[in-house]
């Protein structure tokens, strides 16, 4: 069996309290791609990322990575948190944060070796964080914090990087830097799956998009799929939030 596609999602349904947030989603994406996950609020972008990260159970469907079924968490897939969710006062430096990426490969007790140090060095260099590596993590700008988490994912040797609205709250120069970083990661063969809400910047950042609205709207190369018609369909259908007094979830 040939595996052309790195990540294959089929018939994926995820619900919160019997209300489906994602209906029978299916698409395929490959390594070396930067994929934008688009859709209105409540379309299930975060739900999809969390499901891929193994944080949410699925009702139906399968996820295959390189032909192997993914169940629960795996070090191959790294979930990067939204910046607001992190305790930036945690007593650790940038280097300490990146070292945490090695813990998964090392398990609970295996000794931290020179090869681990080398992996951490390489990740820090790839994200141009060398001059900052001894800083406490709160003493970083928003863009640098993003790069620190990307470096941790690199140290983890993850192939799929899941990012939830990484461009939110970044100014133009920092967005440009992050875009360039994404390009580097793509060239290194990583698959980036990124939820994003600023439609104007989509063609600049992503070579592929997945349009969601609780259901699959379209998936494919940005030039073909990111069309007026598909955007209309994704952003004008009402998101189902339960009968009667359903709260959006």
């Amino acid at each position: 069996m040939k595996h052309d596609h790195a990540l294959k999602i089929a018939d994926l349904t995820v619900s919160y309290r019997r209300i489906p947030a994602l209906h029978h989603i299916g698409f395929e994406v490959s390594c070396g791609q930067c994929v934008g996950l688009l859709g209105p609020n409540g379309a299930g972008k975060t739900t999809l990322l969390k499901t891929l990260a193994g944080l949410l159970g699925r009702e139906t469907g399968t996820i295959h990575f390189h032909g192997r079924e993914v169940r629960g968490a795996t070090p191959d897939i790294a979930y990067l948190p939204q910046r607001g969710q992190i305790d930036w006062d945690f007593p650790t430096t940038v280097r300490g944060l990146v070292e945490m990426g090695r813990y998964l490969r090392l398990g609970w007790w295996k000794k931290y070796r020179a090869t681990d140090d080398a992996a951490v060095d390489a990740a820090i260099t790839a994200m141009s964080l060398e001059p900052l590596q001894d800083r406490q993590i709160s003493a970083l700008s928003g863009g640098q914090q993003q790069r620190a988490f990307l470096a941790r994912a690199l140290a983890q040797e993850a192939h799929v990087l899941l990012l939830d609205e990484p461009f939110a709250g970044l100014d133009k120069p920092n967005q440009d830097t992050l875009r360039a970083t994404f390009r580097t990661l793509r060239q290194a063969g990583k698959l980036l799956l990124v939820s994003h809400h600023d439609l104007a910047t989509v063609p600049l950042i992503f070579d592929r998009v997945v349009l969601l609205n609780g259901e699959m709207i379209a998936a494919g190369p940005t030039a073909q799929v990111f069309t007026e018609e598909n955007i209309q369909r994704a952003y004008t259908t009402r998101v189902f939030a339960g009968v009667d007094h359903g709260h959006a979830v």
Partner: protein
């Protein structure tokens, strides 16, 4: 020198010093996890909910005893800590409110149960502890708790650190976050069982939280916080005991927590980076450097 010879010559003092050092070490070590996981209030609730278990122990065993402490600890852990977790998960209540309800209910149940104890008991001993009266059984408990808690947490240090830093990401990395949470609750209960005799139920929270909180204000390194907290807990307990021996009027438990409190206040006031003084001591103003960015026309370059 005479003072210390004199101090060490009393058997009750030797016991107290060894027990105090052990208890201080374990609590100081555990404190880092409690502070960073923001479980201080949970720990407070746990300490108070030991009352019904103790009352039961009195009814069954007829005295303030190790078995009562264990019963108390187990009641605290299962009824209150895990109950609060369950309540928070199955309703829209958050964990703090759930905890507040459960631990006051447990405390009330304890007060009621005490009415049925045939011989009146001096609750003061339980509330404030008496490390000078530490017995063989208490010392063994202190040894056992230290040997269970410190190596136990070190064994799972990596997943624990991931959990402390960000529970959600840790879960996405396959870390059993809930199991580790229960482990921290269990470790807290064990530490409380060992410190009940030394500093009592009211003051044990200080012994648990103050050393780690002090180090948190001084360092950006997790290991320094962990081992520094343990060292400070040990030193604070020993120093507190010595002070309470020297000045007979000072009760030992209060002396220990006061010493730790003074250390904490000093760190808060004089800490070079996160202390008050460090914040007040104005750094050089970068007015000229900041302005020059605009004068050279490259405002956005970082």
């Amino acid at each position: 020198m005479n003072f210390f010879n004199d101090l060490w010559s009393h058997e009750f003092m030797r016991r107290a010093l060894v027990g105090g050092a052990l208890i201080g070490f374990t609590n100081g070590f555990l404190g880092t996890f409690i502070v960073l996981r923001r479980m201080s209030l949970m720990a407070d609730a746990l300490s108070h909910s030991m009352l019904p278990g103790l009352a039961l122990g009195l009814l069954v065993a007829g005295g303030l005893s190790a078995s009562g402490l264990f019963l108390g600890g187990i009641t605290a852990a299962f009824l209150v800590a895990l109950g609060a977790m369950l309540l928070a998960r199955t309703s829209r209540l958050k964990e703090d409110a759930s905890l507040a309800i459960l631990y006051t209910v447990a405390f009330s149940a304890g007060v009621v149960l005490l009415q049925f104890v045939p011989t009146p008991v001096d609750l003061k001993h339980w509330l404030f502890g008496d490390i000078l009266g530490i017995g063989d059984a208490d010392l063994w408990i202190a040894y056992a708790v230290t040997l269970a808690v410190v190596p136990g947490l070190l064994l799972v240090l990596r997943p624990l650190v991931l959990t402390l830093f960000d529970p959600m990401v840790a879960r996405s990395q396959g870390v059993k976050v809930d199991a580790l949470h229960v482990l921290l609750i269990a470790a807290s209960v064990l530490a409380m069982i060992s410190s009940a005799q030394a500093v009592g139920v009211i003051l044990m929270l200080g012994l648990l939280v103050a050393p780690a909180a002090t180090l948190y204000l001084l360092t950006d390194n997790f290991s320094t916080m962990l081992w520094g907290g343990a060292a400070l807990g040990t030193a604070g307990s020993v120093l507190g005991l010595v002070l309470s021996y020297r000045f007979e009027k000072i009760p030992s438990g209060a002396a220990i927590v006061l010493v730790l409190g003074v250390c904490f206040l000093a760190a808060w006031a004089f800490g070079p980076r996160y202390g008050l003084l460090g914040q007040l001591r104005k750094r050089r103003h970068f007015h000229d450097e900041s302005l020059s960015r605009w004068e050279h026309g490259h405002g956005h370059k970082h």
